[in-house]
């Protein structure tokens, strides 16, 4: 028996292959790692539809300012970035509860001293404050605003001799007339809870309740919210929710099983006359019927036409984290993005309303109907957006439209609000 057997060449080669592979991959990864912190301004932008658009804008910025390096970030996890102390240098994201937490905790720097802050439409400031604020700071600059109402098929309306309703009674008449003519008045997509919350619920509540005052009082009231408190969902949302159920009666029979994609398709094919969605649905509808003549009117909830209001949300807002070491570069990019020709072009291309005092009116054939409401500040923030995400308000709305007792659901909402206020 030989003292040492020569090792089999096959095993050796496999082993060295594995070893080489591991070492190689390890080196490659560490190599990436050392380059992992770019000394450039990272621009975070969260809206998937406009990644290409902002890519082009950044390319323009690079041409103009070769001295400032910028990178485009569409995948970062904001919470992890802030936890690590290295968030993106400039954010351009939907102004919702995710970013509201960072505003409330003072993690965003004050942009109030920038000349661009002075150009923001003052009517929007209460809306920004209502979602989140930090004392003495302009934490975010609105960039794009979306105004939403009822999308309606102009051809269908004309065919049946109808006009966009201006009062609640007219709305009911229109629905009755369409039903009598065999047309589905409203297309419901109740399988997807968010379509109920941001649509029929927000529109009915926003048309009847002073949303800003209601939520300010509710925040003040906090843990005392409940039966008998000065404001409560149970009391103040009762009438809107009942009217919402009236409208649900005019939706397609299979609404409970239809989702957002089905709704876009059905409305594009003219299967219903009205569709309670924001302008984002216009792009989707155009995928099927590019030439459909769509109009938008605010859902009338009272019998006074002057009470009509549109639902708005700050679709994009700019913010610079306090801890960012590249404030100057980030601010320079803010100034670039806020230039009238750039911000106005963005809003015109992406169905947004301008947020600056110098912004031109919208030109999109569907959106023009909403301009007067925006100009007159006759708008409200979607109530479903003002309820913290830990309260499943969209699912509650879904429960109501699919048959749950509204009073009970609204009492649950009050209890949730009070519990959350007690905890925080």
């Amino acid at each position: 028996m030989p003292a040492r057997t020569p090792s089999p060449p096959k095993g050796l080669s496999r082993r060295s292959f594995l070893g080489a592979g591991l070492v190689g991959a390890g080196l490659a990864l560490t190599g990436c790692g050392s380059l992992g912190r770019p000394a450039e301004v990272s621009f975070y932008q969260s809206k998937p539809e406009v990644i290409g658009y902002f890519d082009e804008l950044l390319a323009r910025f690079r041409d103009e300012r070769p001295g400032v390096r910028v990178s485009h970030d569409v995948t970062s996890d904001l919470s992890a970035g802030f936890a690590r102390g290295a968030p993106p240098d400039l954010g351009c994201s939907n102004y919702n509860f995710e970013i509201a937490r960072f505003v409330d905790h003072g993690a965003l720097s004050d942009l109030g001293d920038m000349p661009e802050a002075g150009r923001i439409n003052p009517d929007l400031l209460p809306l920004v404050e209502l979602t989140a604020s930090y004392p003495g700071r302009t934490s975010v600059l609105p960039y794009s605003l979306m105004a939403a109402g009822v999308l309606y098929n102009r051809a269908t309306f004309a065919e049946h001799g109808l006009e966009a309703p201006t009062t609640w009674s007219e709305l009911v008449e229109v629905c009755d007339a369409l039903t009598a003519a065999g047309v589905t008045p409203i297309y419901g997509t109740f399988a997807e809870p968010w379509t109920i919350g941001q649509g029929i619920l927000d529109y009915t509540v926003g048309g009847l309740v002073d949303v800003t005052a209601f939520f300010e009082a509710l925040q003040e009231q906090g843990a005392d919210t409940g039966p008998g408190s000065p404001v409560s969902f149970e009391k103040d949302f009762r009438e809107p929710v009942e009217r919402m159920l009236t409208l649900v009666g005019y939706t397609n029979a299979d609404a409970a099983g239809r989702g957002y994609g089905d709704g876009n398709l059905a409305f594009a094919r003219g299967e219903a006359a009205m569709y309670l969605q924001g302008p984002w649905a216009l792009t989707e509808i155009a995928k099927t019927s590019p030439d459909l003549d769509v109009g938008i009117f605010p859902l009338p909830m009272t019998d006074d036409p002057a009470d009509r209001k549109v639902r708005v949300n700050v679709d994009l807002a700019l913010w610079v984290p306090d801890v960012s070491p590249r404030q100057d570069g980030a601010r320079e990019l803010v100034s670039f993005l806020m230039r009238p020709e750039i911000i106005d072009a963005y809003n015109a291309d992406n169905l947004g309303f301008g947020v600056t005092t110098d912004a031109p009116p919208v030109t999109h054939p569907a959106l023009v109907e909403l301009q007067e409401y925006y100009d007159g500040a006759r708008f409200y923030l979607g109530p479903s957006q003002l309820v913290p995400e830990s309260i499943p308000v969209h699912n509650y709305a879904q429960a109501i439209v699919t048959g749950a007792d509204p009073g009970e659901v609204l009492r649950t909402l009050d209890a949730d609000w009070a519990r959350l206020a007690r905890r925080s």
Binding site: M1, A3, R4, T5, S7, G11, R15, L18, G21, L22, A25, G26, A28, L29, T30, C32, G33, L35, G36, R37, P38, S42, K47, P48, E49, I51, G52, S71, H72, D73, V74, T75, S76, D77, S79, A80, G81, A83, R84, G85, A86, W194, Y260, G261, D262, N264, L265, G278, W280, A281, T283, E284, K287, T288
Partner: protein, 273 residues
């Protein structure tokens, strides 16, 4: 002799097969549709006209070659690292079971199975940030760590079935512990290494949460994280999204097709022993 068919079992298996094949069929056909056809509400139709726009757009939006390379490197390191580290650990543990230190270290490793990543996410994010590991290398290391407990469990069970006499003969021939492991035990572990490797591959290749939280530089993100851009509430570009899913899925399916023999044999070996 007549072939007897077990009808209920066959029917159940058929249903299971369909549950896998139908979504796969939708993924493949959807990837080759035009945007207009992809939203027409008929997921099962064949692409007409046949279009590569979705794939091209997905390729461009995700920066496919780069994300794919990062994913591949992370997966490679985590598979190789998992196999080497856990087989060595298992060998040490299985052959020193009578010593308390080794027994307890086995329980210690198993304990990690009950700590899911989300629980540790915040501390891991901060720690990797401080250690300069907020990049794919850190992700790969963490993948190895999180695979370690389950893989050690599999290896240890398998090692108990390897006769100790084999090792004794190697010892008699003058082999050191390292040589015994490397020349004798590790090759014997090959079927289990295949199983462990496949599990590590799938876990690492498909992972979303860890790379999304740990990797700081968006340019070094893995494929599943980059694909997040297709998950939008307000718009549905199914053809682009599915095109990207198809490209990301392909390697996993190909790997499985070639290695399923070992997956099956490895799983049963680990289970019985």
């Amino acid at each position: 002799m007549t072939r007897r068919i077990n009808v209920p079992v066959t029917a159940a298996l058929l249903a299971c097969t369909l549950a896998v094949l139908v979504p796969l069929y939708v993924t493949v056909t959807m990837a080759f549709k035009t945007t207009t056809q992809s939203v027409d509400g008929n997921a099962f139709s064949l692409p007409a006209p046949f279009s590569l726009d979705g794939l091209a757009e997905a390729w461009r939006l995700t920066g496919f070659p780069r994300a794919f390379t990062v994913s591949l490197l992370v997966t490679l390191v985590s598979v190789v690292g998992t196999i080497l580290l856990s087989s060595a650990a298992s060998y040490a543990i299985a052959r020193n079971w009578d010593r308390r230190l080794f027994r307890w270290s086995f329980f210690y490793l198993l304990g990690a199975m009950f700590l899911p990543f989300p629980v540790l996410a915040l501390s891991q994010v901060r720690l990797t940030g401080l250690a300069g590991l907020d990049n794919p290398a850190g992700v790969a290391i963490l993948h190895v760590m999180f695979q370690l407990s389950f893989s050690t469990l599999l290896y240890t069970a398998f090692l108990r079935s390897v006769p100790a006499e084999l090792e004794e003969s190697a010892r008699l021939d003058g082999a050191t512990t390292w040589q015994t492991f490397w020349r004798l035990v590790f090759p014997l572990l090959a079927p289990m290494s295949a199983t462990v490797g496949i599990f590590a591959f799938l876990a690492s290749w498909n992972d979303f949460m860890m790379p999304s939280l740990i990797t700081a530089d968006p340019a070094l993100q893995t494929l599943p994280v980059v694909q997040k851009i297709f998950q939008s509430q307000f718009s549905s570009n199914y053809n682009v999204a599915f095109g990207s899913y198809l490209m990301a899925m392909a390697p996993a399916i190909v790997v499985y097709l070639f290695t399923q023999r070992w997956v099956m044999s490895g799983v049963t070996q680990g289970a019985v022993k």
